[in-house]
Symmetry: C2
Subunit: 325 residues, 2 copies
DNA sequence: TGTTATATGTCAATCGTTTGACATGTCAAT
DNA sequence: ATTGACATGTCAAACGATTGACATATAACA
């Protein structure tokens, strides 16, 4: 790889001059500028960003830690974050924690060693203290860590309420709610809070089932849904905490000979693209994924530039009614 | 952020000594080692990988360029690549080209500026010459660029053949094939070659429709499928070049009142997780995505270490029969 | 007593780039 | 003839870490 010295030598100018055209500072004649550019072209020169980062103490890289990109919610989020970061001249290191605390910790340290300008945390298997050592800008998605670390989430309580009320409104009398691991301190647990509140408020019978949200473990979902329907054949409403789970619910109900939405009404969460690939299309609570991604990046930027920022960022959700309710 | 100098000063040893414990070289007493580690802990010191990369001329970063992580095939591939890279101590910069040649070119240059140790190209909107300037290790997925750049693909011809023959075997007499943009020089076009060969060989009527493979443009797929069924109501077999398109085919057929698999048999491609979220589950040609991801990374490593490697890497596919045929 | 393994230190160069300070021109306008 | 804008050069320090060469010191062993 050619260096700035090679360019200088070939173009017959000083390194300083090359640096000046590269960074557009000081006086440079058009002739020299052209000559330097031509030489860079010839040598296929690309300035070494590693050296620049070292000097500038800024890498223009952010890290994104999520459980797994294969989950539609995270793959869409990742896409938005990356795109938005790219527009602002930043790159993104992707880290799949696979919900493994050791790996998650390891990733955080790796990102620090690589001096990323900020970390977006979408995976939360660690204890709060573990984050304290993080000096770099950080923003969490769907988890509130401390009063000075900004977080973004959609309005989970409202979402849970919306879902629960819609099922009741549609006439459901026994509703199951499939959620993630409530032991993890995630804000998505508030969906469950809202669900329970509505159920007890309206006096509707309900069942809550926790899962570990591992999309890969397809069998887990199949089993859970199957058992649910066996143990509670009279269920007529299901509120799943993701569209994918809702999809499994649809399949299990159909397999059990129950019609959707006539016998059982199902509502998912997220409104990922996949919700429309399924048949029937999944009714769902839409999270503004694009906005979450952009806001996450913006909050990193604001911290980097020491601009003021909001710590609590709760985005609105909306009900998208499709064919499963 | 603390530097190695800070650690040395606080621990009351020389910088060289700290470096020695860090890199495990030379003689170090247990006492000193412990003292240094303790100090690093206290200062929350993480060695600056940027400085290391600069000196070592190796970043331990690879770049992955794909059209869009939101597409299940790529999100699964990304997950495998990242995981495998992580196991070997590498990080991954993710780049979504969005099928934009300008962006793709820009990404390649960005990755070069950042001195990544290798690039895995899964997006192919550029002309062959554009890749010639790439001095770093590179491997392409599903596209053959030149005789010295290794590529990986699954056996597309065999996959197309398998799909076509299975539909005919199941009694289809008029088969539509929905493929990607054949203008792009991708190896997946060989599926279409195989399809056509089988069709003409067996004398079965067929229709070929190109799409631009943009998963986000849901309406495009809906429209295409709808028009296809209107113009050719007698179609009884569909071979889609992805499971997602197959999903849309299922929906359109059902909407048109055609039963699956009785009236129309549908086969997809890839065998992504989503193929099993759909109902009925999609019959498909399985690509070994995990293996593709690992091999891509391995080929980068081999080039890096100047080890011998295979240029042509064609992985086997298999037919997974589910409910749509 | 001398030899050797162990332990640590000093020093300087290196990776590729940026930047400030300063010097030395040329050329045109006053 | 003087001034000032423009153009380019030289030089050195800095970013944070690694590494080889070399010096020095202690402890153990023969």
């Amino acid at each position: 790889m050619a260096t700035i010295h090679d360019v200088a030598k070939i173009a017959n100018v000083s390194v300083t001059t090359v640096s000046r055209v590269l960074n557009n500072r000081g006086y440079i004649s058009e002739a020299t500028r052209a000559k330097v550019y031509k030489t860079m072209e010839e040598l296929n020169y690309q300035p070494n960003e590693i050296a620049r980062s070292l000097l500038r103490k800024q890498s223009n890289v952010i890290g994104l830690i999520i459980p797994n990109v294969s989950h539609p919610f995270f793959s869409e989020l990742t896409n938005y974050v990356e795109n938005y970061a790219y527009e602002q001249g930043f790159k993104m290191l992707l880290c799949n924690s696979q919900m493994d605390p050791v790996k998650e910790k390891d990733y955080i340290e790796m990102l620090k060693r690589n001096r990323v300008d900020g970390i977006i945390m979408g995976s939360h298997t660690l204890q709060v203290e573990e984050y304290k050592s993080l000096s770099s800008p950080i923003v969490t998605i769907d988890r509130q860590i401390s009063s000075d670390i900004p977080y973004i989430s959609s309005d989970n309580y409202a979402g849970g309420k919306l879902a629960a009320e819609m099922l009741i409104h549609k006439g459901c009398t026994k509703i199951a709610h499939i959620c993630g691991n409530l032991g993890l301190r995630m804000l998505s647990n508030r969906r469950t809070d809202a669900f329970q509140a509505v159920m007890s408020d309206k006096g509707v019978e309900s069942i809550i089932i926790q899962t570990d949200m591992n999309v890969f473990d397809q069998e887990q979902y199949e089993l859970i849904m199957q058992r649910l329907l066996e143990e509670h054949p009279d269920i007529d409403g299901i509120f799943a905490t993701s569209d994918i789970i809702a999809g499994y619910a649809v399949k299990a109900c159909t397999a059990a000979g129950r019609r959707i939405p006539d016998d059982v009404k199902i509502i998912g969460y997220d409104d990922v693209n996949a919700a429309r690939w399924m048949m029937p299309e999944i009714t769902t609570i839409k999270q503004p994924i694009k906005q979450i991604g952009q806001m996450a990046f913006d909050l990193i930027m604001k911290q980097m530039n020491a601009e003021p920022f909001e710590v609590d960022n709760i985005l609105p959700v909306s009900l998208i009614e499709r064919a499963t309710t």
